[in-house]
Symmetry: C2
Subunit: 345 residues, 2 copies
């Protein structure tokens, strides 16, 4: 059987990710040999899908965690080919954060980042293991449930609303808390998706705003009373417009800042810290890990439940073949995709 | 009997508070007439002490809540001279946020900002009603218990450590959570008080730092592993130094920014928002009110308990006569005082 790996050829400090930054290595592996040589408590697994996520942009800079020549590590979903571990059997489906090598042996307890999907989806829907039931889903869940903690009927603003995290965040806020949900996205087509399929109340086409002042005016037009929460995925003028519109006891969940990722230098955003006192406002960064693996909250149970009830619209953009991963990753930063970007290995 | 009032003569937008900004009015009042004319559920009260607090600096700007000619409103403590309210009797001691008129009639349910001190202190210690058992005490308590929520043995940095709020915050963090407590104060005398009387582990004399880089270096010298929490009372280079030293899962409680209060323009502090994501850091502004009046936490019970156990060092600077209030207020911004500034009316 052929095993494919995604390799980082060289670090790239700025600009859009280039195709020469990555390559695919292909190796012949003998499955029977691998099965027979498993140590106790190990799994032989096959990755079926790999995720292309904006946060990886920082990791491939020379200051990031990946070095040239290394196998890229990212969120994946796959199935167990053979198991010597009590908790897993052949055919089990899982999500994980792993080096992108399609056939590999792992020790699940040593990764700490493996979650079982068998009871939540079938192989046909394995792409959801890197989407609604994977990192983006748990990020949306953590941001809403853990950080923003909405009260019923509050107003929330979500940037990158047509993206994997943004879309799901708004759906949770709408269905569970009946929030007034305002998104922003780049272009009329994306905005139409956000309001029609994701059921947002409003979506701002930020491409019509030249600066923070104009974006603030557009936001205030649909939220004249201000916003109670901001789910930050973009940075730059989005963050500024949100802070200027944030009400008393307002919360900001800082999930990502895609507008900043391709820059080499750190961006310092001017914040009126003193203005946060009387308003009792909060800005909080967060990661999804604890929620994803069930240390906090009930992500898989709740999210898969909402999915079955039809409350969540699954939006995915598919790329066929691991060879397409660099293209999929590049497209994240040009706004070409809708929803979750999934690469079928 | 004479009743004194503290009047705002004119708004002052910038600079140190001037003596011409305020005046004291004195009126003759007939206590017996006032007692006899009380409506149901009212109190005739005498204010005994008034607090001079930095936050008032913003209120006397033309953008603030006080208008020229108006009686200043601030935190006070006093006693009940006569009551027609079931919850109060003659001789009861209280803390409150009230217009500074020494003899006045109030309806306690309409103020919402009156708390009974009778069982926690006697008249001799009424100054504590605007200090450790008043707004500054509840602010320290809210910042530590409500916002920073220390784990045992964490490291906390507290600016304005010799001030009313800073001093108490450090004592709570030390006694209840065994934190490593690092303060900053202006001058060796203040630093000596902070370490000897308040039992801080370290105190940085920030006057030896010319900029955020130097203050950061001084902070890192005593906290080489970084800080877990920052109690913000100052702003400017203190905030920057704290953010640069803040560890993973670090929290910042924004209580005040005294370095900014005398400025007319809003200060925007550059913050690396993206850097808060992977570190899961939080910046949160807060007010003490809910804690002060018992809606959240058990401020009066816990704080008075620690006081009786001798765990809190009470540091107060006293001024005799309401006529001294403008001087006391001015001195807040020149760093002349240690601990809580109390004006005896």
């Amino acid at each position: 059987m052929l095993s494919k790996s995604l390799i980082l050829v060289q670090n790239q400090d700025e600009g859009l990710p280039e195709s020469t930054t990555f390559r695919i290595d292909i190796n012949e592996v003998n499955i029977d040999n691998l099965k027979n040589s498993l140590l106790p408590n190990q799994l032989l697994v096959q990755l079926l899908v790999a995720s292309a996520d904006p946060y990886l942009r920082g990791q491939i800079k020379s200051t990031g965690s990946f070095k040239a020549g290394q196998v890229m590590q990212c969120f994946v979903a796959g199935k167990v080919l053979h198991s010597t571990h009590n908790d897993w059997i052949e055919g089990d489906l899982f999500g994980a954060n792993l080096p992108v090598t399609s056939i590999q042996v792992i020790s699940p307890q040593s990764t700490g980042m493996l979650w079982k999907l068998t009871s939540y989806l079938d192989e046909e829907h394995i792409s959801q293991g890197v989407g609604v039931l994977g990192m983006p889903g748990s990020t949306a869940y953590a941001g809403i449930e853990g950080i923003l903690r909405p009260n019923q009927n509050e107003t929330i603003f979500i940037s990158a609303a047509s993206g994997a995290v943004g879309g799901l965040s708004g759906m949770i806020a709408k269905h569970k808390y009946n929030c007034k949900v305002i998104g922003s996205a780049g272009g009329e087509e994306k905005c139409a998706l956000v309001t029609s399929a994701f059921k947002y109340d409003h979506c701002i086409n930020y491409k019509n705003a030249n600066n923070a002042d104009e974006l603030t005016a557009m936001l205030k037009e649909v939220a004249p009373e201000g916003i109670d929460m901001y789910f930050e995925n973009v940075g730059g003028m989005h963050f500024e417009a949100a802070m200027r519109t944030l009400r008393v006891k307002g919360r900001v969940a800082v999930c990502g800042q895609i507008a900043e990722y391709n820059k080499k230098e750190i961006t310092y955003t001017p914040v009126n810290i003193m203005g946060m006192i009387y308003t009792q406002q909060r800005i909080e960064g967060f990661l999804c890990f604890d929620w994803l693996v069930g240390k906090k909250g009930k992500f898989l149970e709740e999210m898969s439940g909402w999915l079955k009830e039809g409350l969540l619209h699954v939006q995915e953009s598919h790329y066929e073949g691991l060879e397409k991963w660099p293209e999929a990753f590049h497209d994240l930063f040009t706004g070409k995709n809708l929803g979750k970007v999934v690469v079928h290995i």
